[in-house]
């Protein structure tokens, strides 16, 4: 069961803060992050990679993206 972070409509650096908080909380597994700008997509992906997570998938959803990050 993956957790969902809804960062749509939030400006810098909120999407990254929310993602980092979730990463700290769950430690490993799968997190889905919803964002609505390309900037947030890049920032969230960069932050996840820096924490040792892997970008499993980035798919367009609505006007933004659904980013799935994983860590075993």
């Amino acid at each position: 069961m993956s957790s969902i972070v809804d960062a749509r409509g939030l400006s810098c650096p909120q999407p990254v803060i929310l993602t980092m908080n979730e990463i700290k909380k769950v430690q490993k597994g799968e997190i889905i992050v919803l964002v609505d700008t390309d900037t947030s997509k890049e920032n969230v992906s960069r932050a996840a990679i820096s924490q040792g997570w892997t970008i499993k998938e980035v798919v367009p959803e609505g006007i933004g993206y659904k980013i799935t990050i994983i860590k075993d």
Partner: protein, 365 residues
């Protein structure tokens, strides 16, 4: 199908390249006629725009700076080409306006924005050190609020028109400049004010300013270049991505200054600067805190406004109005020192920012 996550501009070399290009072009703009250590300064140039429009009547700082127009339109062109234009608004616009006003008030006590703080330093102006330390301190205070849940709330997708209003305003400014061009020796043509002396009278040719503005707007939109974010992300996450861009700007502007003979080290008699360290520090502390609470440096706010962010546009208008307030009420500094009401204005600004920071803490589900 997954869209590629990182384009070249989102890579480390991408942001370093963008910083380098901005740094070089800033020094070149100075060579082409812009004021010393002010090849590009977002706060100063928005202040000059406020003067050109008559929102203040400080006669030495009146010019419709085409660089600012180019920043917004260049970012808009990039956003449309790469399908990133998204009209959005509604994230505490009045708070952003007030933050814009005080960001400008603080910036004009120091006499510059983060971009110019770096450009002043690499032009040899030692007073910029106090400004940069103030900037870092202000952003650090902002990160404390961010860590404790401060946020301005969500924006909403909205009519495309909303995203077009700032670019159209800039286009309107450009049209005004073409209809009412500067006439040598005259301080006014039609509805636009011009400076016959002082920094407002010093400018590169319109076409050079506009083209360089468009280039910077384009690449900054692609790379998300942000000088406040550079310091904030390092403090918050120990992430150096944006910081590399900011450092690159300074390094390449420095090298270009050396080549062009624009490096003059010292503290006294530096161009468009004063030597009161405490208020160079205090002014930029206020500006840095306001930028951090508003989520972007003044340049970044222009690029965001170009890609459809109506809230960033409100911040920009706040800064332009703030420039009017600064010069009409004696808050802005000059080479002679801080203005008569500059110090109380900075203190009030810091209190307003603290009020916003402490009270806007909505839990995000």
């Amino acid at each position: 199908m997954s869209k590629k996550v990182f384009t070249f501009f989102a890579t480390r070399w991408g942001i370093i390249t963008v910083g380098a290009v901005i740094g070089i072009l800033a020094s070149v703009l100075q060579k082409l006629g812009n004021p010393p250590n002010m090849g590009v300064c977002v706060a100063c140039f928005e202040r000059d725009i406020a003067g050109a429009l008559g929102l203040h009547r400080a006669e030495v700082v009146q010019y419709m700076r085409p660089e600012i127009i180019g920043f917004v339109l260049g970012a808009m062109i990039a956003a449309y080409i790469f399908k990133e234009f998204r009209a959005r608004a509604g994230s505490a616009p009045i708070a952003r306006f007030i933050l814009g006003v005080f960001a400008m008030i603080g910036g004009l006590v120091f006499l510059g924005c983060p971009w110019r703080a770096a450009l002043r330093l690499v032009g040899g102006d030692g007073n910029a050190i106090f400004g940069l330390l103030g900037l870092i301190t202000g952003i650090w205070i902002g990160t404390l609020f961010l860590k404790n849940g401060y946020n301005l709330g969500r924006s909403q997708p909205t009519h495309t028109t909303v995203g077009w209003l700032m670019p159209l305003t800039m286009l309107g400014f450009l049209v005004l400049m073409l209809i009412f061009p500067q006439i040598a020796g005259q301080d006014k043509n039609g509805v636009l004010f011009y400076s016959v002396k002082g920094p407002g009278s010093m400018h590169a040719p319109l076409i050079a300013s506009l083209v360089i503005g468009l280039i910077i707007g384009f690449i900054a939109q692609r790379s998300r270049f942000c000088t406040m974010g550079a310091i904030r992300d390092f403090i918050l996450f120990r992430q150096i991505h944006l910081l590399l861009g900011f450092i690159s700007l300074a390094v390449f502007a420095f090298l270009t200054n050396l080549i062009l003979g624009q490096f003059n080290p010292g503290f006294v008699k530096q161009p468009v600067a004063h030597t009161i360290g405490l208020w160079n520090f205090g002014g930029m502390l206020l500006a840095g805190l306001a930028f951090a609470l508003a989520g972007g440096c003044p340049g970044r706010q222009l690029f965001l406004a170009g890609e459809g962010d109506g809230d960033a546009a409100v911040f920009v208008f706040g800064m332009i109005v703030g420039a009017g307030i600064s010069h009409n009420f004696g808050l802005a500094s000059s080479p002679n020192g801080v203005g008569p009401y500059g110090i109380p204005a900075v203190i009030i600004g810091i209190l307003v920012c603290l009020f916003i920071g402490f009270t806007m803490r909505k839990q995000l589900s």
